[in-house]
């Protein structure tokens, strides 16, 4: 089955001579040619989308695992990396069983149905609603990678103090209560906020500003508040134990993010290129933004600042990447760098919560900012996916003369905030009642690596 297209194609292409004999009728010849061209198009698009799927997985492991792992204390590095790694396994199984169906199956405005339970019917044929030139399986596995990294982002907020078992339960419930619905609302056919497929409030979110970053960032804030501060915070020093790991992680996130954003074009098209460029430009400008803000405010441009800025830029450009020009991307990135710098260094200290690795300061704030600026800078010159009846591209954002989009973006953001905040709070309560969410004090002191996993990361004596 799966090999069919390819085999047909090979037959047609490799035996051009024979072809003339088999296909006598002109129209049949056209149809055959069309199908070989379709296969060729699919080869290019599928190659790109499979690569993007791999890149997005690489963002979680080793990317995020390293970025977060380097920022915690030595005694928690494995536990922290594990929070990312195990989601690569857990969410995959959820997705196969029912997650994909709930997110992308047809359902109501809020959640998909059970059409694709156990991936039933998700095969080699494209699903034209989402991506007409690649196997639906490719689309499915690509989207899976998003469902993996989103909860992993939250783990930055409760690092160094959450029970491993509670983390697992939390993540499973969170996928069901927050991620699947949100993904459906924004990207699923008929979703409430889907701008392209019949949503009530068309919200522009190219690669997950609301679905991924606002949800994870806001949930992170709730987790930080609910779990409370780490023992000894902020009096004891809790410096990052290995910033080299974090730099590697940030670089791999940057590289992987091309798959995240440019892959969201769902084809190897000029739109993919445009998103690729916007992504890169956003990250670059945000790096400079954060660095300059820090240089001015603290007197020295730190490396941790530069890489944090890069991530902030990547977050903010995510929803915008397929809708804005390269220069707008520079602007959005720069703004994100400066804003997130202040969120993390000033606002956090004012409120005094312990968002250990700044999951809210970067993803919550950056995601919200990016979602709103998308409403400002999105332009039909970059993305003409929305057309009026006569086939003329509709204006997208404020710069196109469509201020209403900013409102739609606000609605999308508000729903994401609300769903994430309420959902997370409920889930935390449930987990706490069932098994307790916070590690015992002595376990926290000993470190997660030893107390939860019975290992130490570094054994340099021997």
């Amino acid at each position: 089955m799966y090999r069919w297209n390819h085999v047909v194609l090979a037959t047609l292409l490799l035996s051009g001579a024979a072809l003339g004999q088999t296909v006598t009728d002109g129209e049949a010849r056209w149809a055959a040619m069309q199908s070989t061209v379709k296969a060729a198009q699919s080869a290019g698009d599928n190659a790109w989308m499979l690569v993007c799927s791999a890149l997005v997985l690489m963002m979680t492991g080793p990317g995020l695992a390293l970025f977060y792992g380097g920022l915690v204390r030595k005694k928690n590095v494995l536990g922290t990396m594990m929070q990312s790694f195990i989601l690569m396994a857990v969410v995959t199984v959820l997705w196969a069983v029912v997650g994909y169906s709930l997110a992308f199956g047809e359902g109501n405005s809020f959640i998909g149905g059970f059409h694709y339970l156990f991936l039933n019917g998700v095969g080699a044929a494209p699903n034209a609603d989402y991506a007409g030139t690649i196997p639906q399986q490719t689309f499915m596995v690509y989207q899976l990678m998003f469902a993996i990294i989103t909860p992993a982002l939250i783990s930055g907020a409760f690092a160094e103090r959450m029970k491993f078992s509670a983390m697992l339960l939390f993540m499973v419930l969170w996928s069901f209560l927050v991620y699947f619905p949100m993904a459906h609302m924004v990207w699923g056919k008929g979703g409430l906020l889907n701008a392209f497929l019949g949503g009530r409030y068309g919200c522009l979110d190219f690669a997950g500003g609301t679905v991924v970053h606002v949800t994870s960032g806001v949930s992170a804030l709730v987790c930080a508040l609910y779990l409370g501060k780490r023992l000894g915070y902020p009096s004891e020093p809790m410096k990052p134990h290995n910033l080299v790991l974090s730099v590697i992680g940030a670089c791999l996130l940057w590289v992987g993010w091309f798959g995240f954003n440019a892959g969201s074009a769902l084809a190897s098209s000029a739109l993919a290129t445009s998103a690729f460029v916007a992504t890169h430009f956003g990250a670059a400008a945000a790096t400079l933004g954060w660095m300059l803000a820090e240089w001015i405010k603290s007197g020295k441009p730190s490396v941790l600042g530069a890489i944090s800025g890069a991530v902030a830029g990547l977050v903010a450009i995510t929803p915008a990447s397929g809708f804005v020009t390269p220069l707008a991307a520079l602007g959005i990135g720069f703004a994100a760098g400066v804003v997130c710098f202040f969120m993390v260094t000033a606002i956090k200290h004012v409120f005094g919560y312990d968002d250990s690795l700044d999951a809210f300061g970067v993803h919550g704030a950056g995601g919200t900012l990016g979602a709103l600026l998308t409403g400002v800078f999105a332009t039909y010159l970059v993305n003409d996916g929305l057309k009026d009846a006569s086939g003329r591209p509709l204006p997208l954002g404020l710069v196109d003369g469509h201020p209403g989009q900013v409102l739609n973006q606000l609605i999308g953001v508000a729903i994401a905030w609300a769903l994430a905040a309420v959902g997370t709070l409920i889930i935390l309560k449930v987990c706490d009642l069932l098994i307790g969410v916070r590690a015992e004090p002595q376990n926290e002191t000993e470190g997660l690596d030893l107390s939860m996993h019975g290992e130490e990361a570094y054994n340099f004596e021997a």
Binding site: G232, P237, E446, L450, G454, E455, E456
Partner: protein
């Protein structure tokens, strides 16, 4: 002059340092050590291979002080480092024959 050698819990270092600063003791040398005593260690398992780890991370503090300050400093350290649980550590005192400040060859208590 006396040398104080205190083996304490790593997470107590900050507190002890503050306490010493409060009584005006500045000079000290700190190192990472691993210790073994009554405190039970822990088990680690790597692919089914078990290791009983009985050397636990500790911090060693070394201070040379004038004889006259000894009791005060000792008390400050023990109080600040105490949790009351096994593993709190030990404090040893030794005689010092001579102390020299390398920078300017000051000797004796004036070198501290």
């Amino acid at each position: 002059m006396k040398k104080i050698e205190a083996i304490i819990q790593p997470f107590k270092l900050e507190e002890v340092k503050e306490a010493l600063k409060a009584i005006g003791v500045d000079g000290m040398t700190v190192s990472e050590v691993r210790g073994h005593g009554r405190q039970k260690g822990h088990k680690e398992v790597y692919r089914g291979q078990e290791y009983q780890v009985d050397l636990l991370p500790k911090v060693k503090l070394e201070l040379v002080v004038a004889d006259i300050r000894l009791p005060e400093v000792v008390q400050t350290i023990t109080q600040a480092a105490r949790t009351g649980k096994i593993g709190d550590g030990k404090l040893f005192v030794y005689d010092v024959a001579e102390a020299i400040r390398i920078r300017n060859d000051d000797r004796g208590e004036s070198a501290l």
